[in-house]
């Protein structure tokens, strides 16, 4: 089995496990925390793209990535809470920041793809 296919199988399995775990913890999603969910989703996708970028550049370090992820999540949650308390739509700013970061990382990956660099 090629190495990349193994990565894919592992990832799919992990998604299934994550889905099943979330299903089994009986967590009730409410409207109040749906914004946190959306932010968490964007930060996670950003993490994925950033990790892939680092891997392609050859300086991937899981400790740095995980630390960045945790800090990003915490800060995003903090800003969202502050926005709710101050009745300011801070989440828009956060979506823009993480969106820009995500797409810039994505553009780096595209550049590497089209310039025939190693995968």
């Amino acid at each position: 089995m090629p190495h990349s296919l193994q990565f894919l199988v592992l990832s799919v399995l992990a998604i299934v496990v994550g889905f099943w775990t979330a299903n089994s913890i009986q967590f009730t999603m409410t409207e109040e925390i749906s914004i946190y969910l959306a932010m968490g989703l964007i930060v996670t996708v950003d993490l994925l793209i950033e990790g892939a970028n680092h891997y392609l550049e050859g300086h991937f370090n899981w400790k740095t990535i995980t630390f960045n992820y945790a800090i990003s999540l915490l800060l995003a949650a903090l800003f969202l809470k502050m926005g709710q308390l101050m009745r300011v739509d801070l989440y828009i700013a956060l979506f823009i920041v993480f969106g820009v970061k995500l797409f810039s990382n994505l553009s780096y990956i595209s550049q590497k793809f089209f310039s025939n660099q190693r995968l």
């Binding site: 193994q6 998604i15 889905f19 996708v45």
Partner: protein
């Protein structure tokens, strides 16, 4: 080395850190996908609602969820408390039944009695007293301890509040027959002759004093020359055999 660390080491060698990173991210994505689908399912359920209705329904739904959680917690607390109550009731019943059993077994004479009590010894009058009785035109048999004397002595003791009584180590109960068979007395089908040792338990000090007062049955026996010796001591009254 244990098998689990070997497996972990092999997997760490086989898969680079990036693979683990992918697994980690996929795991989190799986959780988020589940939560999103849950939210989506709920949102589609409210289609056709106005914004106000939607907000109200969501607010009520959140409140309902909170109340359900509280209910679940309270139900578990109720179950625990019911369990405690059942245990306490069981102990209380056991205690009550034990007390009732103790009381009834004492009345029924099942349990032996050991403790403070009285020992009353009844002996026939000496022969010269019988002769004196004859001279006074009294029945000389009056100096002999009869079965009726024992029955009346028993009645006296019961009426004073005795808890347990025995005659010559034969437990006396409500159904015990004390009968005369010529020169001997039968108690519980056991043949007995004087002296009769009555062991009594459960009398209070003022009741014990009344045994020796004027007009008591034991004083009446003394008037016929019958020896009545009352002593307070530790007594051992056997249970019914």
């Amino acid at each position: 080395m244990k098998p689990a660390p070997i497996l972990v080491k092999r997997m760490a060698e086989y898969f680079p850190p990036f693979a683990w990173f992918l697994v980690f991210v996929a795991l989190i994505l799986g959780v988020f996908i589940n939560f999103s689908s849950d939210l989506r399912r709920k949102s589609t359920a409210y289609q056709g609602f106005s914004a106000e209705q939607f907000k109200k329904t969501r607010r009520l739904s959140t409140a309902l969820n909170r109340v359900e959680r509280i209910n679940t917690r309270l139900e578990s607390e109720i179950a625990l408390l019911n369990h405690d109550i059942a245990r306490e009731l069981k102990q209380a019943y056991q205690y009550t039944y034990q007390r009732k059993y103790d009381r009834l077994s004492s009345i029924a004479g099942i349990k032996p009695w050991l403790g403070d009590g009285l020992e009353i010894t009844l002996k026939d009058a000496p022969s010269q007293t019988s002769r004196s009785l004859s001279r006074l035109n009294e029945n000389p048999n009056g100096g002999i301890v009869h079965n009726t004397d024992l029955v009346l002595a028993m009645n006296t003791l019961w009426s004073l509040g005795a808890q347990a009584v025995s005659i010559n180590d034969q437990r006396i109960l409500s159904g015990t027959a004390i009968t005369c068979a010529g020169p001997i007395i039968l108690i519980n089908q056991t043949r007995m002759s004087p002296p009769f040792v009555l062991k009594v338990a459960g009398l209070k000090p003022e009741q014990i004093r009344r045994l020796d007062q004027r007009g008591s049955y034991f004083n009446y026996l003394k008037s016929y020359g019958i020896s009545v010796d009352i002593a307070q001591k530790k007594v051992s009254i056997p249970g019914i055999s």
